[in-house]
């Protein structure tokens, strides 16, 4: 194992992406992910990749569309309103079945919002802001190390599924520091290899066949068939890409559901409640789409209440309620606008809620 180094989230995202096979990065500056764009501007060319600062997020995603169509392992990153601008492109890329890795270092919204951390892009990334029937697998790391591990695998995952992969890391994870271990760099895919490994790519005339990349399908029957084919893939993804972590849910009185930064605070709250003799557990969705419904089947049937803790107005509640399926009451503990609650605040609010379910 290589040595521990201290890294800031945004730098670590870049380093992990490069080590995971990223060869193209297209970006446009936005807080709180600027250090990543800066890192890539410095590192990509040094390490055999290409860096483009686009003139906008719209340009970024469409340049990335072109790179992905040519078979390049491409990475785009932004923060909430910037990711909003990319939604049209993401819909096109999903329809064209191209691999791409996108990172959202999210902040407060709606609109231009603020620059402090937020999780109010849950609906944006899990439901998709673009048009049409499509899905993007979304992973929400709760630490810098987990972000590294997810990003390192994301490029091969995107290639395998021929679909964008989204990583939702809130601003806190982008800006905080953490000791991490970096994985060994993967060998980059050469242009000759692209022609062999990605026969669908527009990789030139040498490969001897014609590839077409498009999202336009004027014939309704043709489009319906295409969407059904996409959904066969999504059904498969729902089985294979579910990822979550759970802690002490089998005998819990109260089960928290929380992702990203909030899950770390909740972990501390669970220990605080344990000191009071209250058994609390945590389901931490790592894949937000597909949502880890299966985790809820392991919850103690005697659990009094499930609490969704989020940095938004309760966007994940819809998925939590669907997963709970009426077996337990579902309540919300939240802050928004860029405010991160303290462990004490969540602890006190949880105790108050628990008091209602004696």
């Amino acid at each position: 194992m290589s040595e521990r180094v201290l890294m800031k989230g945004n730098e670590a995202f870049g380093e992990a992406a490069i080590r995971g096979g990223c060869r193209y990065y297209v970006g446009y500056p936005i807080t709180p992910q600027n250090e990543l764009t800066e890192f890539m501007s410095r590192e990509m060319t040094k390490r055999g990749g290409k860096f483009v600062q686009a003139e906008s997020e719209l340009a970024s995603i469409n340049m990335a569309y072109g790179i992905a169509a040519a078979g390049g392992n491409v990475f785009v990153s932004s923060a909430s309103p910037g990711i909003a601008l990319m939604q049209e492109g993401l819909s096109f890329i999903c329809s064209a079945e191209l691999p791409l890795v996108a990172l959202n270092v999210s902040r407060g919204g709606p609109g231009i919002g603020g620059i402090q951390p937020g999780q109010a892009d849950y609906n944006q990334v899990t439901r998709g802001g673009g048009n049409g029937d499509y899905h993007i697998p979304v992973f929400a790391p709760a630490s810098i190390q987990e972000s590294i591990d997810i990003l390192y695998d994301a490029f091969s995952l995107a290639d395998e599924w021929r679909n964008p992969i989204m990583i939702l890391a809130d601003g806190m994870i982008g800006q905080m520091m953490e000791p991490v271990t970096l994985p060994e760099p993967k060998a980059p895919i050469s242009e000759d290899e692209i022609a062999v490994r990605k026969p669908w790519a527009l990789s030139g005339t040498k490969k001897g066949h014609r590839s077409v990349v498009k999202s336009l399908r004027m014939q309704p029957n043709d489009l319906e068939k295409h969407v059904e084919k996409l959904f066969e893939k999504y059904r498969q993804a729902e089985k294979e890409l579910v990822k979550y972590d759970s802690d002490r849910i089998e005998d819990a009185e109260v089960v928290f559901v929380s992702f990203g930064t909030t899950a770390r605070i909740v972990s501390e709250v669970i220990d605080m409640l344990a000191e009071d003799g209250i058994k609390a557990g945590l389901i931490r969705p790592i894949s937000l789409w597909p949502f880890p419904e299966e985790a809820f089947s392991k919850v103690n049937p005697k659990t009094k209440v499930v609490i969704s803790a989020e940095l938004n107005m309760g966007q994940m509640m819809t998925d939590v309620k669907a997963a709970v399926c009426g077996r337990f009451p579902v309540r919300l503990i939240n802050r928004t606008g860029g405010i991160i609650p303290t462990s004490l605040e969540i602890y006190e609010r949880a105790k108050k809620i628990l008091g209602e379910y004696k």
């Binding site: 730098e11 303290t342 462990s343």
Partner: protein, 235 residues
């Protein structure tokens, strides 16, 4: 550790994430015990989070006035601008001033406008070194950071701060290795190592180690004011 002889103005630069802000807060709090008037100027206009101005109430309760790129209670705005009153404690020679400068050469550029206050004998420009940050883990890497900061600001760095740590994973040996690393830099640059930061919990263990007097004299026990405990909670 004796801070009584420290220069009136102590400006702190370094690689982003090297720990300038934690050093500045701990140092300013320690220093405030010796002076009637003390101030911290937060010149970090590059970082959006973890800025010393967020600890304004803690600092003010210790008698430290806080200045920087914020207006009244607005501390989260991302304004690449400074309020004019940031100059006040520099003008008033009764103030002991700690300056938390932004990261890297680009972040330290902001110092240029305060050039006239950096009078020889009245200031120190200290550079924070954390050997566990990838870009300053080699002598060449650390030197190149220092040279870039000097070139950008036109000021000579006068001392080093060994802040080699891995947050709550820090071991006493990390601090000692960081000191040895800084000794090499110190020899190359002909400037002293002014401080070695040590987490409060490790202070006694470090003092028991076989370390030289110069290192011992410069140990600054640091509490992690900027770091909420849940940030080190394993998810």
């Amino acid at each position: 550790m004796n801070l009584a002889m420290d220069k009136r103005i102590v400006a702190v630069v370094g690689h982003f994430g090297s720990g300038k802000t934690e050093f500045c807060i701990n140092y300013a709090l320690e220093r405030a015990k010796l002076y009637k008037k003390s101030a911290l100027i937060d010149l970090d206009i590059a970082n959006p989070y973890f800025r010393s101005r967020e600890k304004r109430s803690l600092l003010e309760s210790a008698g430290i006035r806080v200045f920087g790129s914020f207006y009244q209670s607005e501390i989260t705005a991302e304004l690449p601008a400074l309020t004019a009153n940031a100059r006040f404690p520099l003008e008033d020679k009764n103030y002991a001033v700690t300056i938390d400068v932004g990261g890297d050469a680009s972040g330290s550029m902001i110092l240029i406008q305060f050039f006239k206050y950096f009078i020889e004998g009245d200031y120190e420009l200290l550079c924070v070194i954390n050997k566990n940050r990838p870009e300053t883990s080699s002598i060449e890497g650390a030197l190149s950071h220092i040279y870039r900061i000097e070139k950008e600001t036109g000021l000579k760095i006068t001392g080093l701060i060994n802040n080699t740590h891995l947050l709550r994973e820090t071991r006493v040996d990390d601090i000692i290795q960081g000191y040895q690393f800084c000794q090499e830099l110190s020899k190359e640059l002909r400037i002293p190592i002014r401080f070695s930061c040590c987490p409060v919990l490790l202070y006694e263990d470090l003092c028991k180690k076989d370390i030289n007097e110069a290192m011992k004299d410069g140990i600054l026990p640091v509490a992690l004011h900027m770091r909420e405990t849940w940030l080190d909670k394993k998810p």
